[in-house]
Symmetry: C2
């Protein structure tokens, strides 16, 4: 029985690119997540910012959110099987994939924690 | 065929509790990890600090490493099966377990990324 992205995807915590780093940090803590998906006012994918990127800002002293947003985002779609998601995250050494539709609208997110949980079932 | 912790465990990035937050942030970036295991001068487990904790310091403005170290650490040992690791991380909503021996000496770490990779094999 194959598991597909649409059975594991959940709501992504998002922000817009004109927010402050401190506001994005607050959201990471309040939502207890590591990944914030950057969207435009129509909910389309603009980038990703993680607790790792905020840690890099602490290490290197970057003052603005726009300086730390990752624009080239690795993504997936709801129809993909979980083994493809696992390989994609492993290849890019990342721990989450935003889930998008054909217009790059953000439908949700899937993380290595979600995939790892499948082993505990 | 059951996978055990000893086949997935890898070297943990570590720090001691008297280091600066900025040094720990640098190590997270240099090692490209999210988890730093806090050890004493004999390599025994003292706590854990993650990119999430550094993000919380950014959100709440905590100046010292000792203020952000998590002391009550959820751990595992090399002999445990992977499904137990996956359940333990899911139960505590965390993405890594330091691997320790019976003297609480740190042998390494296993993350949800390591477990997730098994699905891509
Ligand atoms: C290379 S990983 C290294 C640490 C760890 N493997 C992790 O995923 O957090 C950290 C970087 O990956 C980026 N990243 C995370 N998910 C991403 C995605 N889906 N597409 C592109 N970059 C992503 C983050 O923004 C951050 O700059
Ligand atoms: C509750 S999780 C929430 C975000 C996300 N699930 C993650 O693991 O990063 C973040 C907190 O878990 C803590 N943590 C991570 N691994 C831990 C472990 N093995 N034992 C105890 N706390 C841990 C971190 O220090 C941090 O304070």
């Amino acid at each position: 029985e194959i598991t597909f992205v649409n059975s594991l995807v959940h709501t992504a915590a998002t922000c817009t690119e004109n927010e402050e780093i401190s506001a994005v940090a607050q959201r990471i803590i309040e939502r207890s997540v590591n990944h914030i998906v950057v969207v435009d006012d129509q909910g389309k994918l603009m980038g990703i910012v993680t607790s790792w990127d905020i840690t890099r800002a602490v290490a290197n002293g970057k003052p603005k959110l726009k300086d730390i947003i990752i624009r080239k985002v690795v993504t997936t779609t709801p129809d993909k099987p979980i083994d493809e998601v696992a390989r994609k995250m492993a290849q890019h050494h990342i721990s989450a994939l935003p889930v998008i539709d054909h217009d790059r609208k953000v439908l949700g997110i899937i993380t290595s924690e979600d995939v790892s949980k499948l082993f505990g079932r």
